[in-house]
Symmetry: C2
Subunit: 193 residues, 2 copies
Amino acid sequence: MLNSDALDLLFHNGRTFSAWQDRDVDINLLKQAWDLAVLGPTSANCEPMRVTFIESAEAKARLKPYLAEGNVDKTMAAPVTAIVAQDLEFYEKLPDLYPHTDARSWFAGKEDAIKTTAFRNSSLQAGYFILALRAQGLDCGPMSGFDNAKLDADFFAGTPVKSNFLINIGYGDRAKLHARSPRLAFDQGAEIL
Amino acid sequence: MLNSDALDLLFHNGRTFSAWQDRDVDINLLKQAWDLAVLGPTSANCEPMRVTFIESAEAKARLKPYLAEGNVDKTMAAPVTAIVAQDLEFYEKLPDLYPHTDARSWFAGKEDAIKTTAFRNSSLQAGYFILALRAQGLDCGPMSGFDNAKLDADFFAGTPVKSNFLINIGYGDRAKLHARSPRLAFDQGAEIL
């Protein structure tokens, strides 16, 4: 069982931040979070999540016009923004990632299976990734308010990669947090049969 | 930062299990995992994940015919199977879950936004949930090989709930594990701009 300090770090004190301390993010922490997140289970170990970390002033300026208005200031202020994306040709890596059977053939040419598997599993991996970032002591501000098509045409032109959502990353300013919104109780969202 | 024991529990030693120890799962652990998982961030705090825990012999018999052949034995042997699902009317709860603005109007009547948001965020929550189950000392065996439409027609008839994927839950038999499959290195799946 995880102890209470660890539960606090990952869950109880984990919040969605919009304001950031003036403190840089060590790139090694992002790499360590990646190495943890990819350990999480995916369907046939397909690992469709791809991440583009926006850190330089040039890259931030490129990202800015695609953000929803309410997401501009907090994103420009964040030390790093991760574009969490999905590789729609993830199945080309299955001969390496799932070598004991011909898993590539489960997907190649099957558009519905590709789209569903990439979206489900890149989102699932993003869940692992957010908690892995928190495990490195980092704070997150995930958001889906941006123009996916325009961002993809700029950052992923000519590739099979499509954006899923964004995560601002840094050390959050806890003084600027609002009270946490309510959560669904077990009996509101779950049942035991 | 999370210490190495916690990283081992959640990530390094976390594996997808197909064989289970003969040991019951305390329902309170499932409830505690739910309460942790719902703390994770979702878009406008929409929390679309719903979970039906299959535990009784009757419910297991109901589930069995919808499973892909390769998933039958391990699922019937698991102490509990979670049907991770998504509520396509999640927006009806937004006046309670995100009360400071009219977030319901962002979704009501907008089928594409509903489907995308429910699928993305229920999958994201499933990522938190798998790690929250591991945080309770439980092991998981997630899988998407089943007939979603037939399962939904049985378990969720007349509701806006649709299945996403399944997670077998229990105490795994580590002696029956194969070697872990390879993972994508940072440079294979990520970039820094």
